[in-house]
Amino acid sequence: MSEQKTYELGRHPDMAPPVNMVGFVGWMRANLFSSPINTVLTVLCLWIIYISVPPLIQWALIDANWVGTTRNDCTREGACWVFIDHWIKQIMYGRYPDTELWRINTAYILLVGSMIPLFIPGFSRKGLLSIFLLAVYPVIAYYLFVGGSFGLENVETPLWGGLFLTLVISLTGIVGSLPIGIVLALGRRSEMPIVKALCVGFIELWRGVPLITVLFMSSVMFPLFVPEGMSPDKLVRALIGVMLFSAAYLAEVIRGGLQAIPRGQTEAAQALGMSYWKIMGLIVMPQALKLVIPGIVSSFIALFKDTTLVLIIGLFDLLGSIQLVGTNPDWLGFSTEGYVFAAFIFWCFCFGMSRYSQHLEKKLNTGH
């Protein structure tokens, strides 16, 4: 028995809390084993992690084959990343000619380079830069990709593919659908019954059907709509379909922003004698668009994921390229690796953008 110390009344020093209530043990007691049910759940979760994670790491990293040139370099015990390495050009650029790849890379660098200042808080010319990105950049990119002028060789769109095509379709889709979406949103809130009815009808029609039927329509019905011999190529038809489809969704997102702007803003502008287009362009739209930036980013993520559907009408985007190289007779049986790789790329893009949109939401939430 240890010696008992005596203290004066009220002079007892603070004792350290019991070991099992603080620190790591305390945290575990509170968060993992607080009740019998929780203990069971924790054990179950640990078991699931135990049976799933180690084999996955074993397959994807430890037993995997990283270097080689043919399928014989793969031991088949783990993942065969040689497959991806061998086809990386096809997966990234499709069948775009080797000698012309610098054009795509230049466009990428230009895009990333001109987007970086947008994320710098102190940069003062964001407006100008945005106009450059939305209006001038697409023209430059168009000439770079298609060629046929300025001494550049013409590259037919059937040669486009891979991640490059995915980015072209999703970026063109979102940028092209923004103005249509704005007009539709304004039309839906208009007081003119015919304009309103037309816009509501258009929006509900496109929102009510799956994208795949829109793509089918653009690939099968579009050639019927135009005079003989004037039918645009497959990519342009798909782009028009994607644009109309995403415009309907964007219109609803923008309408949400318009509804959030108090009537007083419009009324004050009217009292100052501004015309409708001035009110919308200078007062209401800038505020509404700022509110819905996170919504637009979400729509873009959805569109980015939906671009995979173009493989059904015979365009080879990222997923389509993977499907295609997976059917190569020399490389049969590596579809799992291909899908995991494609999933990883898509996940990086989508997760990054969704995190950014959440960050924006917090930053832009200046009210209360």
């Binding site: 607080s34 007081e191 799992t336 996940w347």
Partner: protein
């Protein structure tokens, strides 16, 4: 006196080109004219193109013989049947996959949504990882993964994965027992109906008694007993008139039982797991939207935790959950059209694919396909509006 005032305050009439009424009218006529002109150009082009290709327009083709077979049919169908019957078969297949998908997506979604709010750290983190991984990968990629990378790699019938000798999973699909209803099963079914009716009236009586006397009656136990017990007793009396037909390996393949084709299994797996991530987020947001004060107030009034959940939290959370949830159901139904990519015979594959190729009637076929999805969407949104009205908070 009054005339004088109105004379003074009446503003001068603006010239006609500045009058809002006339301007609106003019603008609308312009827009309508533009739309009609565009429609005219499109239709005349289409008619000219169709005439040149020698395709007759109209819906007469629906009555001709289809001449192709369909992998999976819920109703009787053969190659001699008409296109219309093929259309119905594919429509049912679409509805089937959407129905099963919605069922599983709801269950998984609710479980994961609640798990993310759990105070068990590892459980909530695992739910978060699940949601953040699967919702950021395109659905089509997931369908391909399940179909080509998982189900196509399964062993042949002889080496099937076996669960209790009743369920077999192999490259041809998922085999499960098939119930045969023997004569006398009708009595069991009727017993169940009687039990349902009895439970309904019992609940009403219990509610009324509680309102009048304050005495509670545990309907849940009694209802469970009635619903399970009564059919069981009747079944025992009639000698269990139900026999299961088990799938059996004969030669190179299984016979008997129900087969779920791998296309359907892959599609349901991908749709349910993908949509469940969205439903989980909706459920989480819905529960978090009910402020803690509600629960605390209910406890202060002496309500039990279970009762609090049932009578206070869930009704309020549902008001937030149901509208976006319906939206997800709608999305799942529309996404089921991706079935075409792995050749599950849904409406897009059979109707907008095979039948379109055979007949060349692009306009009619695409219009019908879009019409089907549009009808489903409008029905669901009509239901949602009705439900919203019913559930909306009644405020002054």
């Amino acid at each position: 006196m009054s005339e004088v005032v109105s004379d003074v305050t009446k503003p001068a009439k603006p010239p006609i080109w500045n009058d809002p009424v006339y301007r609106a009218l003019f603008f609308q006529v312009l827009v309508l004219g533009g739309v009609v002109a565009l429609g005219y150009v499109l239709i005349s082009n289409t008619l000219a193109n169709l005439e040149r290709q020698g395709i007759a327009s109209g819906f007469g083709f629906m009555k001709t013989t289809a001449g192709f077979s369909i992998l999976m049919t819920l109703i009787k169908y053969s190659e001699e049947d008409t296109y219309f019957r093929a259309f119905i078969v594919s429509l049912l297949n679409t509805l089937l996959v959407a129905g099963i998908g919605i069922f599983f997506a709801t269950i998984i979604g609710f479980l994961v949504g609640v798990a993310r709010l759990s105070n068990n750290w590892i459980l909530s983190k695992m739910a978060a990882v699940y949601v953040e991984t699967l919702r950021n990968i395109p659905l089509l990629l997931q369908i391909f993964f399940w179909y080509f990378a998982v189900l196509r790699q399964l062993p042949g019938p002889k080496q099937s994965l076996n669960a209790f000798d009743t369920f077999f999973l192999n490259i041809r699909g998922l085999y499960s027992p098939y119930p045969h209803f023997l004569p006398g099963f009708g009595f069991v079914a009727w017993a169940f109906v009687v039990a349902v009716v009895a439970v309904f009236f019992m609940a009403r009586w219990a509610h009324k008694r509680q309102q009048e006397t304050g005495q509670q009656f545990h309907t849940a136990y009694a209802a469970f007993g009635l619903l399970v017990g009564l059919p069981l007793v009747v079944a025992a009396v009639t000698g269990f008139p139900l026999s299961w037909e088990y799938p059996e390996l004969t030669g190179f393949n299984f016979t008997g039982g129900i087969v779920l084709i791998p296309e359907l299994v892959a599609l349901v797996l991908a749709l349910a797991l993908y949509t469940a991530t969205y439903i989980a987020e909706i459920v989480r947001a819905g529960i978090m939207a009910v402020s803690r004060g509600q629960t605390e107030a209910a406890y202060a009034l002496g309500l039990q935790p279970g009762t609090t959940l049932r009578l206070v939290v869930i009704p309020q959370a549902l008001r937030v959950i149901i509208p976006p949830l319906t939206n997800q159901y709608l999305n799942l139904t529309k996404n089921s059209s991706l079935a075409a990519a792995i050749a599950y015979p849904d409406i897009v594959l059979v109707f907008a694919g095979t039948i379109l190729m055979q007949t060349g009637q692009a306009v009619e076929v695409i219009a019908i396909t879009m019409g089907v999805y549009l009808t489903i969407s409008l029905l669901i949104s009509a239901f949602m509006n009705w439900y919203n009205k019913k559930m909306a908070l009644v405020e002054r």
